[in-house]
């Protein structure tokens, strides 16, 4: 009886009298139930305020003692399906507790454990469902979410179905989400499909494109960065054509128009790509040198476009999705467009234009006048193609062999096979200890164990960093924890060498506390994960 809502009328009468005061309103004794009124019957000489307070005290206890549970029907929870799989062994649960409780900076050891348990086709005990679901909710990483979705079993999925925050572990009904979801959910559907089924994403977009706002259209255009392929060409061409035909385009429409052009330029089958390719072909010359005359081979050269080539003008270039740098004029401006054209072409087009193998593309470019005159722009264009647009290991390898500097060296290294990555990093003494997140591919759980030599290289790298600053950044701590998945234990032996044993006590202490001991602990955790026994059949 702590609120006037749902309270009996006589209680509300008492509350009203108390609110106005017994000087203004009589105590509503006649309204009270007999059980309360009778004890108050003999109240002669008692002030009204005392009578009201006594009536209220009796009423409160009368209400508490006489309350009855409600029988109004309530919606029932759906039944939880029974589990059919075994629980993870106790040793695995202990490791899980250790990894979740300790809030280790990295996640790869957890991923390693989750994958190991997934291999064993087990589920986690009910006590661990909530911590795992919360981890999936906050991790936002597929490599964490997917194994968790499996390990939580029937009960975990049943639980996740009750709480929208955990829906991320449930198999998504994409059609339903697309039809009835929020704006964010619909964006998520497109984003997911662009990575898994790009053609289906285009189908969905086509069905609603004209009804959507230009802001929404623009945000969807970004998604074409994933899974761009020939199947996208008709849709992108229609967008480009429709906007091309407009007399005036608003700012966002202009951006969509350029985005569509930019993507089309990268598709060899598109008219835009073919036009640019043919334009570039004009600047390719072949001639037979003396040696060529003897061998029948032709020498190919590529020159920069002429300044008087009126194809290279701002209006045309904009139609092709190319950017115009307002600070540039004359030859500089044409060169800027030229490199953008180069960067849009896939390696196959380059090979066709220049009759050069992919292995020799980089050498070819730097032998040309544009490569000699503007090696940085040439490198940038090649880098863009190699790492972002067409992901070519051959091109990445060729580029890394040059002595040029790269804006995204780590992305080029990522394209190499694991052993080559290690060799390249070590041979070029790359110090990634300040921004180790760029090299997170080194700690992928499905990657082969590092070599002893590379392990020692990494340990030394971080030891140097530690001696320079006496503490690691959060990113460095995360990398080192994740590195336990790849590091060879013998890599730590380098810390026993004279160089480290001759350091000051404080330095040795710092290395021991921040590097050696954590690494040993994480390596032990890794080893324990790898020997988790299969569940007992009982």
């Amino acid at each position: 009886m702590n609120s006037t809502q749902n309270a009996p009328f006589w209680w509300n009468e008492l509350v009203n009298a108390a609110l106005l005061g017994t000087d203004r309103r009589a105590v509503p004794l006649a309204e009270l139930p007999d059980d309360i009124r009778q004890p108050l019957a003999n109240q002669s000489g008692v002030s009204p305020e005392k009578t009201l307070l006594r009536a209220a005290a009796l009423s409160v206890n009368y209400g508490r003692a006489g309350a009855e549970p409600s029988a109004l029907p309530l919606p029932a929870l759906p039944p939880c399906p029974p589990e059919t799989r075994h629980y993870a062994p106790e040793t695995a649960v202990k490791l899980l507790r250790e990894l979740l409780d300790e809030q280790i900076h990295g996640t790869q050891l957890l991923v390693l454990l989750l994958e190991k348990l997934r291999e064993q086709n087990v589920i986690v005990p009910p006590d661990w469902l909530i911590p795992l679901l919360e981890k999936a909710e906050t991790a936002k990483m597929t490599e964490v979410i997917e194994p968790i979705a499996d390990l939580i079993g029937e009960r975990g999925r049943w639980l996740a179905a009750q709480n929208p925050a955990w829906a991320i572990v449930l198999p998504a009904d994409l059609d339903a989400l697309w039809q009835h979801g929020t704006k964010d959910e619909r964006n998520m559907v497109i984003s997911y499909l662009r990575q898994t089924d790009p053609a289906r994403a285009v189908q969905l977009l086509e069905s609603v494109w004209e009804q959507e706002s230009v802001q929404q259209q623009r945000s969807w255009m970004y998604e074409f960065m994933n899974g761009l392929g020939p199947a996208d060409e008709p849709f992108l061409t229609r967008i480009w054509q429709n906007l091309h035909d407009l007399n005036t385009r608003k700012t966002t429409q202009q951006a969509i128009f350029q985005d569509a052009a930019c993507y089309l330029l990268r598709l060899p089958g598109s008219a835009l790509h073919q036009t640019i390719r043919e334009r570039l072909r004009r600047y390719v010359t072949t001639r037979k040198s003396l040696l060529g005359r003897l061998t029948g081979q032709e020498a190919v050269t590529m020159t920069l476009p002429n300044q008087d080539d009126d194809f290279f003008n701002p209006a045309t270039m904009t139609q092709y999705g190319l950017e115009t740098n307002a600070d540039l004029t004359g030859a500089g401006r044409i060169r800027h467009w030229f490199f953008q054209c180069l960067a849009a072409m896939p390696p196959a087009t380059w090979q066709e234009l220049w009759q050069v193998d992919e292995e020799n593309l980089v050498d070819f470019c730097f032998r040309q006048s544009f490569g000699k005159e503007d090696p940085k722009a040439t490198t940038d264009a090649l880098e863009l193609v190699a790492m972002l647009r067409h992901k070519s290991t051959t091109l990445a390898r060729s580029l890394l062999r040059t002595k040029h500097t790269f804006d995204f060296r780590s992305e080029l290294v990522r394209q190499l096979p694991p052993a080559e990555q290690e060799h390249y990093i070590e041979a070029n003494a790359l110090d990634f200890s300040e921004y180790p997140a760029n090299y997170s591919f080194l700690t992928d759980t499905n990657r082969p164990r590092w070599s002893v030599s590379f392990s020692q290289y990494v340990v030394v790298l971080f030891a140097k960093r530690l001696l320079g600053s006496y503490q690691f950044s959060a990113a460095a701590k995360a990398f080192l924890a994740d590195a336990a998945t790849g590091l060879h234990r013998d890599g730590l032996l380098v810390l026993d060498t004279d160089h480290y044993t001759n350091l000051t006590d404080y330095q040795q202490d710092s290395i021991r506390k921040h590097l050696r001991q954590p690494m040993e602990r994480w390596l032990t955790l890794r080893d324990k994960i790898q020997v988790i026994p299969p569940p007992s059949p009982s």
């Binding site: 009886m1 702590n2 609120s3 108390a18 508490r64 003692a65 939880c80």
Partner: protein, 467 residues
Amino acid sequence: MPVDSPGYAFTTDQITALAPDAASLKAGKDLTSPQKWPTLAANSRALWGEVQGSGKDPYRTQVDALNLAFKCSCPSRKFPCKHGIGLLLIFANDATPFVFDAPEPAWVSEWMDKRAATKKEPDAAETAKKPKSSEPQTGSLTDSKPDPKTARSLTNRLNTIGAGVADLNRIIEDLIRTGQLSLTGKNAGYWQTIAARLVDAKAPGLAARVKQLGSLPIYDGGTGWHGEALRQLAQLYLLTQAFGRLADLTPDCQEDVKALVGMTIAQKDLLAHPTADTLTDTFVALARQTATEDDLLVQRTYLYGTQSRRYALILNFAHRTAPVLPPVPMPGTAVSARLVFYPGTAPYRAILPDGFSDAQPATGLLPDALPNWTAAQQALTDALAQSPFAAQIPQTVHALRPVLVGEMIYLIDNQGFHWPVEANWPRSAYWHLLALTGGEPVSMTILRLDTTVSPLGVWLASGYQPL
């Protein structure tokens, strides 16, 4: 000459019981690698160590080993912090890494000397007839035969409280005569002033209830306070009226009223009484709740005797600035212990005079569960018939299923009746309950609040699980 032991020892159970919560205990366990402690030392009165934390300098952690008090230079607000727990756990597991009989560094000796000095003060104060206790106030057992000096002191105190109670009665009656609406012209400080006067009148229990009135949404323009204000005023009035007629009440009811007013009994008086209600049993620790009330840290530990089928509440207090609380069992464990109950119509609050032992997971134990909400309500009615002041009564009810409807959680019994769960019960506990039960009916131990219930834990086939 160095020694290999400082002459005291701790068990893991003891340390476990000291942990303020499960997270701190886990964090403390993570610090049990001696390599994490560049310094570990002990002597006949203290343990201390240095541990590298997130700061530049290592944290300095020290324990008064004889009185189990902690100090740490870390910024944690938990008490003891994970470093204190970790330090004790290392010592309990394997004391080898400790340097025994090490000279105390200044940061240890200063603290220990200060503690030793302040520890002497209460003794001096005791001889000056002003006993101190970790509890707010003291009183005496109903049927004890105090010496004349104590009896005079008690009479004086009753008179002082009586004056405060009369003052409060007048304020409440005036308020009802002129109307509760007049409260809207006042502010929350109005109730604070009245509460302060009640503290001066040695009635801290009444003062706490008056302060609650100040937290009603009277002063922020809300209207939902009308009924609740009358409810609280009526309960308060019932208590003050009962205190005014203390001599007319049964001895047990007198104890109920005195305890609620704030005249609690000193532990030494409780233990000294020959007819004190004592119970030795295996107790399941149902829940432990810690809250800060003004400057006090209040810890409530709920126990259930597996043989006696009795519930008990262990209530401990500490000042916020020196939060040293005695060890209590970890929720979810079963312990052997002897309880001594405070007197009352339904003795419930108790003390653990000898601590506890044999802590182990509460498996294979089943409670005496009430079959459904109807029976639970009847039990509550019976309790209220004994004492109208009975509050927050624990009950275990068979086969309850939770359901979330909008923002409210309900517990449905096997007959389809349901009772609402208090609105501020953490939603995380609801999810935990669903994870443990899969939505299947389960015996639950709950606290009965005024119109809602607060779940404490569930009895699964695998044992008791706190929520």
